[in-house]
Assembly symmetry: C2
Homo-oligomer: 132 residues x 2
């Protein structure tokens, strides 16, 4: 579990957000699976040369989002249980994200057809990654 994450202190993106993003991506892509344990806050903090609070913040926000599950004394794990939100709420959330993509795309003068092509390509890329 070492060398999995990499933080750039000068990227302009807060380090706790960089870490959150990398964990989310690892979980979504299947590199981290349900019940996998993440490195202890202090260990990862040392590895990333960052304050333990920074790692703790990433972990606890991901716990609030239902992606991780932390227990004092035991550790932090990838959450395999039920999603926090009801089906409908989850779909509402994704719809609003998709609408944002569509707004950006049309403002970039990308056509519906081009968009569809990109969508299919990316979705397939992720689905392949998941099967492994």
């Amino acid at each position: 579990m070492k060398n999995w994450f990499y933080l750039n202190p000068r990227s302009g993106i807060p380090m706790y957000l960089q870490l959150k993003e990398q964990i989310k991506t690892a979980v979504a892509g299947g590199a981290l699976r349900p019940r996998d344990q993440l490195p202890p806050v202090r260990e990862l903090a040392v590895a990333l040369t960052v304050n333990p609070n920074t790692v703790a913040r990433a972990y606890s926000e991901l716990e609030r989002e239902g992606i991780l599950s932390a227990e004092q004394g035991r550790g932090t794990f990838v959450n395999g249980g039920e999603p926090l939100l009801r089906e409908e709420e989850r779909q509402v959330q994704i719809k609003s994200l998709i609408d944002k993509v569509l707004v950006e795309a049309f403002n970039l003068r990308i056509t519906g057809d081009q968009l569809n092509a990109i969508w299919e390509e990316r979705l397939k890329a992720w689905e392949n990654r998941l099967q492994r």
Copy 2:
């Protein structure tokens, strides 16, 4: 052009961003068309009970993004000309947005099929809006 935009000072989202978002959405959906004039900075600032700088910031950032076009003394208009970025760069940008949607979706345990259904629905909704 009155009553088109609405700002909530206590939403937690900066007001200039709320305004940007609303303008982008209006342009993407065809409610604002190329060459349409936006309200003058001061006029909109009064209507939204906000400092003129706040409106000016939204306008100028949208100009940087190639969505609006402002001329001192004349006004601010929806930009109909060529996109700022090359085809390839625009596609890269959208790909990365789509990847973010996919990461969120998989973390919300939304399946590829459900996702595709939502995608099609939203894309059609926007395409209909544009035809009008």
